[in-house]
C-alpha cells in the first residue's frame, strides 16, 4: 500500500510539474500565479500521501499550514494588481 | 536514508551555485535579493542534509542543527524583509531623482512632530 501511495505522490508531483511550464510561458501574470497555485495544491496532496505512506502523522500539520496559507501569495498578487490599476505591460514599457 | 541526504545535499550545492551566479549577474536589486535567498536555501538544505545524516535513536535527524535551522530560517526572512523594504523606499526616492535629475530632492519639513 505504501508503494502505491508513494507512486500516487510521484504522479501528482509529475503533474503539478506541468504547472511550472505555465509559470514559464505565462503569458499574463494571472497565468503564472495559477501555475504556482497548482504547485501549492499538488504539494499539499503529496504531503498527505507521503504522510500516509510513511505513517508520519505530524506531516499532516505541514499540509494544514500550507493549506491555510495557500491563498496568501495570491491575495498579495491581487492587492498589488488592485493598488496599481495601470500596473501592466503598458507601464512596464514606459520610458 | 543516507541517499536522501546525499541527493538533497548535492541539490543544495547546485542551489548555492545558481544563487551565486544570479547574485553576480542580475542587475536588478530585487533579483539579487531573490538570488541571495536561493544561496541561503542552498546552505540551509545542505545543513538539513547533514542534520539528517546525524539521525539516531529514532529521530530522523540530529535535533541540534535542525533547531538552528529554525532560527536560521526566521532570521533569513527578517533580513530579506528588511532588504525588500529598503529597496522599496529607495525606489520611492529614486523615482523623483529620475524625474528631475538635476534638482535635489526637497528636504523634509523640519517642523514635523517626532515622537520617540
Amino acid at each position: 500500500m505504501a508503494e502505491f501511495l508513494l507512486a500516487a505522490a510521484l504522479f501528482v508531483l509529475a503533474m503539478v510539474a506541468l504547472g511550472f511550464v505555465r509559470i514559464m510561458r505565462g503569458p499574463g501574470d494571472a497565468d503564472r500565479m495559477m501555475g504556482a497555485q497548482l504547485i501549492g495544491a499538488g504539494g499539499i496532496a503529496v504531503l498527505l500521501l507521503v504522510s500516509a505512506a510513511t505513517g508520519t502523522g505530524p506531516i499532516v500539520d505541514v499540509a494544514l499550514t500550507l493549506a491555510l496559507l495557500a491563498a496568501f501569495a495570491s491575495v498579495g498578487f491581487f492587492k498589488s494588481a488592485a493598488d496599481a490599476p495601470t500596473d501592466d505591460a503598458e507601464t512596464a514599457d514606459r520610458p | 536514508m543516507t541517499d536522501a541526504a546525499t541527493l538533497f545535499g548535492l541539490c543544495a550545492a547546485v542551489l548555492v551555485g545558481l544563487g551565486l551566479y544570479g547574485f553576480i549577474v542580475n542587475p536588478q536589486p530585487l533579483r539579487k535579493i531573490i538570488a541571495f535567498n536561493v544561496i541561503g536555501n542552498g546552505v540551509f538544505v545542505l545543513f538539513g542534509a547533514v542534520a539528517h545524516r546525524g539521525g539516531a535513536l529514532g529521530w530522523g535527524g540530529d535535533p541540534v542543527p535542525q533547531a538552528l535551522l529554525i532560527t536560521g530560517l526566521v532570521v533569513a526572512f527578517c533580513a530579506s524583509a528588511l532588504a525588500v523594504t529598503l529597496l522599496l523606499r529607495l525606489a520611492e526616492e529614486a523615482e523623483s531623482v529620475t524625474l528631475a535629475p538635476d534638482v535635489p530632492a526637497p528636504a523634509e519639513p523640519a517642523t514635523d512632530a517626532r515622537d520617540a
Binding site: 491575495v75 512596464a92 | 541517499d3 543544495a12 538544505v45
Partner: protein, 312 residues
Amino acid sequence: MIETLNAGLALLILALAVWTIVARDTFAAVVGFVAYGMLLTLVWVQLHGVDVALIEGAIGGGLTGAMLVRAAARLRRTEAAARAEHPAVLTRMAAVLVAGSASAALAVAVLTLPDPAPTLAPETATNLAATGMGNPLTGVLLAFRAMDTLLEAIVVLFALIGVWSLAPDRVWGGRPGPRHHADPDGILAYLARVLPPIGLVVGVYIFWIGADLPGGKFQGASIIAAMWLLAVMAGLSDAPPVSRTWLRLALIGGPVVFIAIGTAGISAAGAFLAYPDGLAKPLIKAIEWALMPSLALTLALLLAGVPERPAR
C-alpha cells in the same frame, strides 16, 4: 519509490531555481520562487525535519511569497531601465566560474562527509528529560541553545527597528503600509473573515503541540502573523501607528521575559539562561508564552512595512 520521488522533487526544485535566476521578467521569477518555496517544504519533510518544514511552509510558502509578489509589482516601473543594464560577457564568465567552483567544492564536501555522521542526538536524548519537553527541538531551542533563540528574538526586533527607521520624517511613528480597501461584500473580505479565526486556532495548536511534537512558537507565530496581514489586506483591520506604547511594550515583552528568566538563572542555577532543577518545564513554558505574541506581532509588522501614514 521514495528515491524516485526524492529525485523528481530535487529536479523540479532545481528547475524552478534556474527559472528564478534566468527569467527575464522579475514578476515571473518571483512566482517561480513562490512555487519553489512551497516545494522546499517537501524537501524538509523528506529530510525528516518536520519542524523545519512547518516553518518553511509558513514563512517560505506564505509570508516571503506575498512580500516578493507585492515588491515585484511595485518595482515594475523600474524594470525597463534595469533591463538595459547587461553585465559584460567577462562578468558572466567570471560568475559562471565562481558559481561553478562553489558548487563543485560543496558537492565534493557532500560526497566526502564523514561516516558515521557526527551527531549530538544521544547527548540531546540523555538531557532532554531534564527539560520536561517531548520535542527535542524545543528542548534545544529553549534549554541547550537558549542563547541562540534569545539573540534571534532580538535580531527579529532589530530588523523591525530597521524597517521603521526608513520612514520619512513627516510620517515618523505613523501607520505602516497603505490603508487597504476592499469591497465589504466581496470575496476577499469574505476570505479575510473566515480564514483568520481558523488560522488563529491552527497557529495556537501548532504552538501548543510544539512541546511534544513538531511545532512551536516560531511556526505558530508566523501563521498568526499571516492571518492578521490577510485581515489588513482586505481592509478589515488596520495596522496601528508604530509609536503606540502598548505596541512597543508588546513587541519587547517576549524578549524581556526571556532575559529576566535568564538573568534569574544566574543566582538560582549558577549561569545565565540556566534553569533550576525541576523548574525547567514551567520556565520554558513561560518564555514560550511570552515570546509567541511578540514574535507574531514583530513578523506581521515587518511585512506591513515602513510607516506611510501619519498617526492621527
